[in-house]
C-alpha cells in the first residue's frame, strides 16, 4: 500500500517538475509589456486574451507548481525517513543499521529486528518523531542533521543532543502483560511517563556505544562496512 503511494508521489512530483520547467521556460520568454490585450487565444472550449494566458502561466509556473513540487518533495522526505534504507543512506548511520541487522548483537535494536518484533521500518518505529506525525522539534533536529552531514561538519562519534522520548517505547510496550508484570515499571511509572527516567536505564544499550563508533576503535571498521 505504502509503496504505491510513494510511487504516485514520485510520479506526480516528476510531472510537476517537468511541467514546471516547461512553463517556466515559457514564462521566461514572455514579454508582458506587449499590451496587445486584443490578441486572443483559442483553447478549444473558450477564448482568452494572450496576455491573460501568459499571466496565468506565470502564476502557475512561479507559485502553483513550485508549491506543489515543494509539498510533494517534502512529503517524499517524510515518507522516505520511514525506511531503514533511508537512514542507511547517510554512511555515518551505518553502525546503527549494521548493528540492527546483526544477528549476533545484543543491543535493543538488534534484538527487536532479529525477533521480528517490528516487521518493517524498524528505525522509524522507535524514532517516530522524525516522520510527519512526530513533533516539530524532531523534524528540526532531522534537518539539522542533514545540514551537518552534507557539509561534513560533524564529528564522529555522533551523539544525540536531544533526549529520547520514552513514549516511543511505551507506545508498544505499556499495557502488555509482560510489561505490567514487572514491579519496577509501576514503581517508576510517573518518572517513565514524564521522561524523568529513561527506559534504557534498565534495558541497556539500544545501539553500538559511542566508543565503538569512534574512528580507530576495534569495532569501527566492522560497523562501517556497507552490507549487501
Amino acid at each position: 500500500m505504502n509503496i504505491d503511494f510513494r510511487q504516485i508521489v514520485m510520479a506526480l512530483g516528476t510531472l510537476m517538475c517537468i511541467l514546471g520547467i516547461i512553463f517556466c521556460i515559457r514564462t521566461a520568454r514572455t514579454r508582458f509589456d506587449r499590451a496587445d490585450s486584443n490578441k486572443e487565444v483559442n483553447l478549444g472550449i473558450t477564448r482568452i486574451p494572450a496576455l491573460t494566458l501568459a499571466r496565468l502561466l506565470a502564476f502557475v509556473s512561479l507559485i502553483v507548481f513550485p508549491a506543489g513540487a515543494v509539498f510533494l518533495a517534502n512529503y517524499h522526505t517524510f515518507e522516505g525517513v520511514h525506511e531503514v534504507r533511508g537512514c542507511a543512506s547517510c554512511h555515518v548511520m551505518l553502525p546503527m543499521v549494521n548493528d540492527l541487522q546483526d544477528p549476533k548483537s545484543g543491543t535493543l535494536a538488534a534484538r527487536h529486528y532479529k525477533n521480528r518484533w517490528i516487521a518493517e521500518d524498524q528505525c522509524y518505529t522507535c524514532h517516530s518523531d522524525y516522520g510527519l506525525a512526530g513533533n516539530l522539534e524532531a523534524k528540526m533536529t532531522g534537518f539539522r542533521h542533514l545540514a551537518r552531514y552534507t557539509t561534513h561538519t560533524y564529528h564522529e562519534p555522533i551523539q544525540a543532543r536531544v533526549r529520547f522520548d520514552n513514549k516511543n517505547c511505551l507506545n508498544c510496550h505499556a499495557g502488555t502483560p509482560k510489561f505490567e508484570a514487572v514491579q519496577s515499571h509501576h514503581t517508576a511509572h510517573e518518572r517513565l511517563v514524564s521522561n524523568e527516567m529513561i527506559c534504557l536505564n534498565c534495558h541497556g544499550q539500544a545501539h553500538p556505544t559511542s566508543v565503538q563508533r569512534t574512528p580507530g576503535s576495534a569495532d569501527y571498521a566492522r560497523l562501517m562496512e556497507r552490507m549487501k
Partner: protein
C-alpha cells in the same frame, strides 16, 4: 512588468534540484532540495509577487 526572466530561471533551477531529489533518494539531493531549491522557489516567488504588486499599483488597482 515586462519580464520574469531571472525569476523563471531560478524556479527552473529549483525544479531541477527537486526533480533530482524526487528520483534519487539520499542525503545530498535532500539537502540540495531543502536548503537550496526551497529558497530558490521562495526568492523566485517573491520577485514575481513584487513585480505583480508594482504592476497593480501602477494601474491603481491596489
Amino acid at each position: 512588468m515586462r519580464l520574469l526572466r531571472w525569476e523563471a530561471y531560478c524556479a527552473i533551477l529549483g525544479f531541477i534540484l527537486t526533480q533530482v531529489f524526487v528520483l534519487v533518494p539520499g542525503p545530498y539531493p535532500m539537502a540540495l532540495f531543502t536548503f537550496i531549491a526551497q529558497p530558490l522557489f521562495a526568492i523566485a516567488a517573491i520577485g514575481y509577487l513584487a513585480k505583480v504588486i508594482a504592476d497593480l499599483r501602477r494601474h491603481r488597482s491596489l
